[in-house]
């Protein structure tokens, strides 16, 4: 258990609305990541952070933004949700050579 929590765990929203997902860690890890999991694709990296206010894009960053104002919190925002963003979202941290994942947020965009 790497002390990672995600909120909310489930969310249903409508197309065009903004959505923010939160990842919280308790162990002061420098690197944090957001992935999405879709059938047939495994997990794909959306954005990552290498420190407070330091973020960069991943493989599937279009339509997403992130912010990290404190070491412990990494926020993922969908500015205007679309049905293609229906997915399960996982946050992760790096500890040594390994990444550890949170429990996930299931997001449905209607």
């Amino acid at each position: 258990d790497a002390g990672i929590t995600q909120s909310p765990r489930h969310k249903v929203t409508e197309t065009g609305t903004p959505v923010t997902l939160r990842c919280h860690q308790t162990e002061n890890h420098r690197y944090m990541y957001w992935y999405r999991q879709d059938p047939g694709h495994g997990l794909r990296l959306i954005h990552y952070s290498y420190g407070v206010k330091d973020t960069d894009k991943g493989e599937v960053s279009d339509g997403y933004s992130v912010s990290r104002s404190k070491t412990e919190d990494f926020l993922l925002t969908l500015e205007s949700a679309t049905s293609s963003q229906t997915s399960v979202y996982f946050c992760a941290i790096s500890a040594g050579d390994t990444q550890y994942f949170g429990p996930g947020t299931r997001l449905t965009v209607l």
Binding site: G42, D56, S94, Q99, G104
Partner: protein, 113 residues
């Protein structure tokens, strides 16, 4: 371009026998490989990893083999147990940078009694 591929979407194995899950990669810059196990409605759980300087790593019932020339790795589980039923993902990353992982599509392993 799928840099990490798990070509078997599913695998069914009898309890007590060996489970072998396979993974292929295309990027020769990958130098570290990991296997994760995922149960429904939970996050992926780290299982075992291997560095490119090794060709084998063992941890209890789990062994990962790496064949760099073939760009292939495999996870062996022996003996297989019912609790091993899950989706298994392989992942790879490059030496430098932010440890960004590239995942395969996953293989659903079912252990039958």
């Amino acid at each position: 371009d799928q840099q990490v591929k798990q070509n078997s979407p599913s695998l069914s194995v009898q309890e007590g026998r060996i489970s072998i899950l396979n993974c292929d990669y295309t990027n020769s810059m990958f130098d570290y490989f990991l296997w994760y196990k995922k149960y429904p409605a939970e996050g992926p759980t780290f299982l075992i990893s291997i560095s490119s300087i090794k060709d084998k790593n063992e941890d209890g019932r789990f062994t990962v083999f790496l064949n760099k020339s073939a760009k292939h790795l495999s996870l062996h589980i022996v003996p297989s147990q019912p609790g091993d039923s899950a989706v298994y993902f392989c992942a790879a990353r490059k030496a430098q940078g932010a440890q960004k992982l590239v995942f395969g599509q996953g293989t659903r392993l079912t252990i039958n009694p």
